[in-house]
Amino acid sequence: MLYAILSTFLLAALAPWLHQLTGRQSGWVLALLPAALFLYFASFLPAINAGEVVVLVTPWMPGLDIQLSFLVDGLSLLFALLISGIGFFIVSYAGRYLEKSRDLGRFYVLILSFMGSMLGLVLADNLVAMFVFWELTSVTSYLLIGYNHEDLKARKAALQGLIVTVAGGLALLAGIVMLAIAGGSYELSEILNSGDAVREHAFYLPLLILILLGAFTKSAQVPFHFWLPNAMAAPTPVSAYLHSATMVKAGVYLMARLNPSLGGTDVWFTVLALFGAATMFTGVFLAFRSTGIKSVLAYSTVMALGTLTMLIGIGTEAALLAAMAFLLAHSLYKGALFLVAGILDHEAGAKDFLQTGGLRAALPVTSAFAILAALSLGGVLPMFGFVAKELMLESVLGAPGWVPLLALLAIASAILGVAVAAIVGIRPWFGPRVETPKSPHEAPPALVAGPAVLASLGVLFGLGPGLAEGGILAAAARAVNGGVPVDANLSLWHGLNWPLAISLVSLVLGLLLYSRWDRARAVLAWVETAAKYGPERGYDRMMDGIVRVSEWQTRLLQSGYLRYYVMFIILATVAMVGVTARFYGVSVGPLALSDLRFYELTIVAVMVASALFAVLSRSRLGAVAALGSFGFTVALMFVMFSAADVGITQILVETLTVILLVLVLFRLPGFLGLSSRLIKLRDASVALAGGGMITLLLVSTHNAREFDSIARYFIEESVPSGYGRNVVNVILVDFRALDTLGEIFVLALAAVGVYAMIRFRAEDKS
C-alpha cells in the first residue's frame, strides 16, 4: 500500500524525462501506472465485500506516535478506485489535450503528485498522515489551477482556491487534534469505534465545527462555494479530475468517514442537511443561469457536493447508500462531461454554450456519449443517475426532520437539474448549426476513450444497479454506517411512489424551463448584481485588508535602518520577558558576593572599562578594539570556570570578529556624531533596559531550580555512551548533534547571505 502511493510520487519525479523519451505517446505510457493501481485496488474487492477491514501499518515517527497506517474499507476503496480509474483516463487524455503545451512535462509531475496525495488522503488511517495528504492536495490543486501561470486570472483563481481550502485546513488541523483527544487515538480505525465517547466529550461541538469548516471549504459548500467555479481556469483535465471527480469530494469523504463517530446527533443532522440543501439549490440555480460550458458544469458540481453533504447529514441507511450511489454516479457522468467540454474546446474552439449548436453531425461519437452522460446528470430512466436520484428523493422524504424544506429544495433542484442536463445534453448537439470558432471535427481516440467508458458505465450500472451495489457500494455504505450493513437496496424500478412522481414532474418542468432558457436568463440578470455582494466580496475584502495591514506593519518594522531593527529586537525581547516575569514573579535570592576573588573583580573591572570605552570612544577603531578586549575577558571567565572549549572558541571568534570589522571599517564613512542628545538618551535607555533585563534574568536563574540539571547526566554518560572525555564535544557532536546540525546550517546560510548581498550589489553597480 505504501509503495502503491509512493509509486505515484516516484513516477511524478520521472515524468518529465519519460515525456521526452516517449514524446507523443507519453500520456498512454504514464497512464499505465493508474491502470495498474486500479487493478491493485480492485484486488482488495473480494475481501472488502466479504466484510473485512484491512489496516496496514508502517512506523513513521515512532517517537511521536505517528504511523503511516492505511485503512482499506468500502469507503476508502470506492474513492481509491475512482481516483485511479478516472486518473487513467485523465492522464491519457491530457497527453493529447495538452500536446502542444510547452509545460506538459510539468503538468504530469503535478497531476501524478496530486493522484498520490489524494490516494493517501482517502487511504490514510492516521489522522496526521491524512492531514498531510489533505494539504498536499490543496497545494497541488493550487499549482494545477495556476497551470497557465502567465494568465492573471488563473493565478488569482489558484490563490483563491488555495487560501480558502488551506484556511479550512487550518481549522481541520485543530479539529483533528481535538478529535484525537476526544477519541483517545490518532488512528481512524480506533476513533470510529469510540463514537459515543466522542459525542459525549466536552470538545464535541467545537471539534465538529472545526472539522466541518475544513470539509465545507474543501467541498465548496455555501458560503465557500465561490472558489470552485473560479478554479475552472485550470486546464480541462484538471477540472474533470480535481474539481469534479476527486479533490472536491475530499470534504464529503471526511464527513462520510467520520459519520460513525460524529454523526447521529441533532447538530450533525441540522448543519449538514441545511448547508447541504442550501448548497445543492444554490449550485443548480447558478448553473442554470451560466452559459460558459465549464462554469455550468462547475456549478452543477457544487449542487452534487451539496446533495452529498445533505444525504450524509440525513444519515438514514437509505440516505447513506444514496450518498454512495450519487457519489459514484456523479463521478462517472461529470468526469465524462468535463472531458467532453475539453473536446468541444479542443476540436471546435467553443467555451460557451451559446457558441455551440447542431454539432451532432460533426462529432457523432462524442455527442452520443455526451448525451448519455447528460441523461445520467438529469436523472433520466434508465441511467445510474436516475437510480441515485430516486434513492436521494426517497431519503429526503424520510429525513428525521425539516422534511418540507428539504423536499422543497430537492424538488426545485431536481427541476433545475433537468434543465441544466438539457443545456448540456441538447444545446450543443441538436438544433440549428451554430458557427463555432474553429471548424469542428471528431476527437482522436485518446480524448474520446474517457467519456465513452465513463458514460457507458453510467448506463451499465443504471440497467444493473445490483452490479454497482454488490461491487462496492454496499460495502462503502456499510463503512459509512459504522460497519453495520445498510438495510436498503438500489433498484431501477421502485414501483409507483412519490420519488417517481417527482422525477416525472421535474422532467417535464425542467424541459419546459430549458425551452425558455434565453428568456429565463434575461429575467435572472439581477443575480449578476446580487452576486457582487456575495461571499466572494467578503473574500476580496479580507484579502485587501490583509494587504493593507501588512503594508502598514512593513512600513513600521522594515525601516531599512539597522539601528531600528536592533532597537525593535531588544525592546520586543524586554517586553516579552518582562510580561513573563511579571506573570510568574522573579525571585532574586541571596548572592554570595563575599566569595568573590580579587582576580575575578579585576576581570570585571576590565570588562566594565572596555564596555564604557566602546560606548564613549570617538574613534571607530578604538570602539572595535574595546569590544575585542571585552570579548577576551569573557573568554577568560570561561577559562576560570574550567570551560576550556568555550573559552577557546570565544577567543577565536573574537579574533575573527575584529578582522571582520577591520575589513568592513574601510567601507564606512568617517565617524560623525550626528545624534542629538535626545536620541542618545533614547538609545541609552534601550541599552539599559536590555542589559538590565539580562542581568535580572541571570540573577534570578542563579537561584531557580525548577528542574534537575541535565549536566550530571551528560558528565556521567559522556565516556560510557559517547566514548569521549571531552563532555562539551560529546554533547555537540553526539548527544545534541541535531542542534549542532541546525547551528552549522544557520552558519552556512549566513555566509551565503553575506555572499549574495555583496556580490549582487557589486553586479548591480557594474
Binding site: D645, L656, L663, Y723, T740, L747, A750, A751, V752, R759
Partner: protein, 141 residues
C-alpha cells in the same frame, strides 16, 4: 589588501601549513581533549585569513584550491550523511556508530559517524568564515 610587509609575508608562508596541521590536530583530539570541529575550523579559517592578509586574495584563493562555498556544501552534506548509518541499523537518525579498524603499522583506530559529523562541522566553519572574509575582501577592490 597587500600589506607589503616582508616579515608578515615570510611568516604567513611558514605559519599556514603549521596552523593547518594544528587545526587538524585539534579536530582529531577534540573528542577527549579541548578541541573539536568548531574550534579547529576557526583555527584553519584564521590561518587562511592570515595568509590572505600577508599575500593577496588571488594567492589565498590559490592556496585554498577549492571555492570556500564548496566547503560549505560539502560540510553540510557530510554532516547530514553522518546521521544516516544508524537508520540502516534500525536506530533513530543521528545515532552514533562506532567501528574499530586495524590499520597496518598504526594499530587499532576507532572510527565513528561522530567523527564524520565533526569533520562536516569543521568544513562548514572554514567555508562560512572564508566565504564571508573573501567576499568582503574582494568587495573592497
Amino acid at each position: 589588501m597587500n600589506m607589503q610587509s616582508l616579515i608578515l609575508r615570510t611568516a604567513g608562508h611558514f605559519l599556514l601549513p603549521l596552523l593547518l596541521l594544528f587545526s587538524l590536530f585539534l579536530l582529531f583530539r577534540g573528542h577527549n581533549e579541548p578541541g573539536g570541529g568548531f574550534i579547529a575550523g576557526l583555527v584553519a579559517a584564521a590561518a587562511v585569513v592570515l595568509y590572505l592578509f600577508s599575500m593577496d586574495i588571488a594567492s589565498a584563493r590559490q592556496v585554498l584550491r577549492v571555492d570556500p562555498r564548496s566547503l560549505l556544501g560539502g560540510g553540510m552534506s557530510l554532516a547530514v550523511l553522518s546521521g544516516v548509518p544508524g537508520v540502516f541499523r534500525g536506530q533513530p537518525f543521528f545515532t552514533a556508530q562506532w567501528w574499530e579498524v586495524t590499520v597496518p603499522g598504526i594499530g587499532m583506530v576507532k572510527l565513528s559517524s561522530v567523527l564524520l559529523f565533526d569533520i562536516g562541522v569543521y568544513l562548514v566553519v572554514v567555508g562560512a568564515v572564508l566565504t564571508i572574509m573573501l567576499t568582503l575582501a574582494e568587495a573592497e577592490d
